[in-house]
């Protein structure tokens, strides 16, 4: 028996006046999997998430969450999902504990469930010590973690996260990835948006790349990388003086060698490991000293560049939502 997908976007369109923010977006997220919505500033990620979480009404098309239509059954959708929006939505004048309980009460949880879950979440997000502190005194990262904890109060089967790790320091980011993996392991379906290519790469089973409101590619990270061309062989020489002779040597074995003087690097297309071992022996037999020799697969960044003609992080149509890059000093 085929199971209902956890999330379905069906020809979603959103217009703001003349501007088409989301343009006929469709995708399916099977239960228990992770979909990464990847795109630069202003691509339409937040708008898609807001439509799927009943906060914004689609101009046309619709979406289903846990089998419920977001337009016709918004309440059923709200019972099945949790949302952590791009901007923090915790109450600054309440403590962490009070924030969790307030949301628990609105869900109508029993006080026993509420206490148990609040304690578990506080512990899981390393907020136990700060539980009774007013959120105003939290650091940006702590606020972000509390925001996530709050969206998990009802332990929803489907979770939407809009740029969940923006503003977290590297360690908190790793911890969060870990929590997310565990949630998925326990059966939660995850849709997360991100501008971090690495994040999509690490977490998502399937990636949908959005640009200017349109889906421009979809697939696993590997598929996307394969579709955007070859791996490259990268040779780094120890002395800049050797660069011309090294280039000459390399050209006698492979075509299309590219020289990067500032990085002391030579790059050439490669088909696989055999190329690498062949070139390694060539350099071993020469007097040229090399620092490093490697095979570089295209990164998602390269994929993005190949698909859109511009880099993911530096989009000129940026919507003015500056990324919060402040990092938290964790004790």
């Amino acid at each position: 028996m085929p199971t209902t997908p956890a999330i379905e976007a069906i020809n979603l369109v959103k217009r703001f006046g003349d501007k088409v923010a989301v343009d006929d977006v469709s995708f399916v997220v099977p239960q228990g999997s992770v979909l990464g919505l990847l795109g630069p500033n202003g691509a339409g990620k937040t708008t898609i998430v807001r439509m799927m979480t009943t906060l914004s009404i689609p101009t046309s098309g619709t979406a289903r969450v846990a089998g419920h239509d977001v337009i016709r059954e918004p309440d059923a959708v709200r019972r099945s999902m949790g949302l952590t929006g791009q901007a923090a939505t915790v109450d600054e004048l309440l403590t962490g504990q009070e924030n969790l309980r307030m949301i628990g009460r609105l869900y109508g949880l029993s006080s026993r469930d509420m206490k148990r879950i609040a304690d578990e979440l506080l512990q899981r997000f390393s907020l136990t010590d700060a539980a009774d502190k007013v959120v105003k005194d939290y650091s940006g990262g702590m606020r972000r973690r509390l925001d996530l904890a709050v969206s998990l109060v009802a332990v929803p089967p489907v979770l939407f996260l809009d740029e969940p790790t923006t503003g977290l320091d590297p360690r908190s980011r790793l911890e969060l990835w870990d929590v997310l993996r565990q949630l998925v392991r326990d059966g939660t379906t995850l849709l997360l948006t991100t501008q971090y290519l690495e994040e999509a790469d690490r977490l998502a089973d399937e990636i949908v790349v959005i640009d200017h409101g349109k889906v421009i590619a979809a697939g696993t990270a590997l598929q996307l990388k394969d579709s955007s061309g070859q791996a490259a062989l990268v040779v780094t020489v120890s002395h800049a003086d050797d660069l011309p002779s090294a280039a000459e040597l390399l050209r006698s074995h492979v075509s299309d060698v590219h020289v990067d003087e500032s990085a002391r690097q030579l790059t050439a297309p490669a088909t696989g490991l055999s190329d690498m071992t062949r070139i390694a022996s060539v350099f071993e037999g020469s007097t040229i000293e090399i620092d490093d020799l490697g095979l570089k697969r295209p990164s998602l960044d390269d994929v993005f560049l190949a698909l859109t003609g511009h880099r993911a992080e530096a989009d000129d149509t940026a919507a003015g939502t500056a990324t919060d890059d402040s990092t938290e000093v964790s004790a």
């Binding site: 019972r79 307030m102 911890e175």
Partner: protein, 281 residues
Amino acid sequence: MTTTAIPDFTISARPQIHPTSLWTQSLVLVRRNLTHIKRQPEMLMDVTIQPVMFVLLFAFVFGGSIQTANGNYREWLLPGIMGQTMTFASFVVAIGLNNDLQKGIIDRFRSLPISPSAVLVGRSLAGLLHSSIGVVVMALTGLIVGWRIRNGVGDAVLAFALLLLFGFAMIWLGIWVGSAMRSVEAVNGVMFTTMFPITFLANTFAPTESMGSWLRTIAEWNPISALVQSLRELWGNVPGPAPGASWPLRHAVPVSIGWSILLAAIFAPLAMRAYRRRTTD
């Protein structure tokens, strides 16, 4: 990697979600607002120190030069300040709602399986409660400076009920302004420049008898005047309407009820439209 330090995360069991009533949801949100007051007691300044200051200022600084029908300006003044305090319920609600809309916490509430009205009902109840604190503070201050309730319990209770009814209308005004304005500063600007003159252009602080004829007419048709006149009559602070008073002040109690209902009927649809606009894109 740091992952070794982290214990496994398993929520022991999915909790049961129970549908809650609009009333329960609103109370949860009222409680939230009360916690805000607990954390920032200075939020109560507008219903404590400020009106007490008005009482002292008018009673002792300007009071000597103002003649009132009952011959006791301080007793006459108190209902006026209560009326002003209740009018400012709109202010409290507008600021609170605008703050919430700015901070995005309304989006959090809207993503929960609760009634869309809960946020407004909760905010309104909290606003009424807030202003009622002001009324209690005013009553106590009044008792100290010489204000008394001279009629029966029934009349006294009716007077407080009229205050609350007027507060209800003002809350819709507050929701409208709070939803329509883009910042707390804008709310402050609009409310100060409109509400202060409106509360002064009435029988709140000085008798309308001493105003110029057209000004007097405007002041006496001001909804606040009917409210304040009702309070004075019901509490027995004045013998009755002043000679030559306009029609609204000669029928102050029914007119005050009428004004409150009319204002609520005007502001409620405007408020709901502005709020819906602000929260749907």
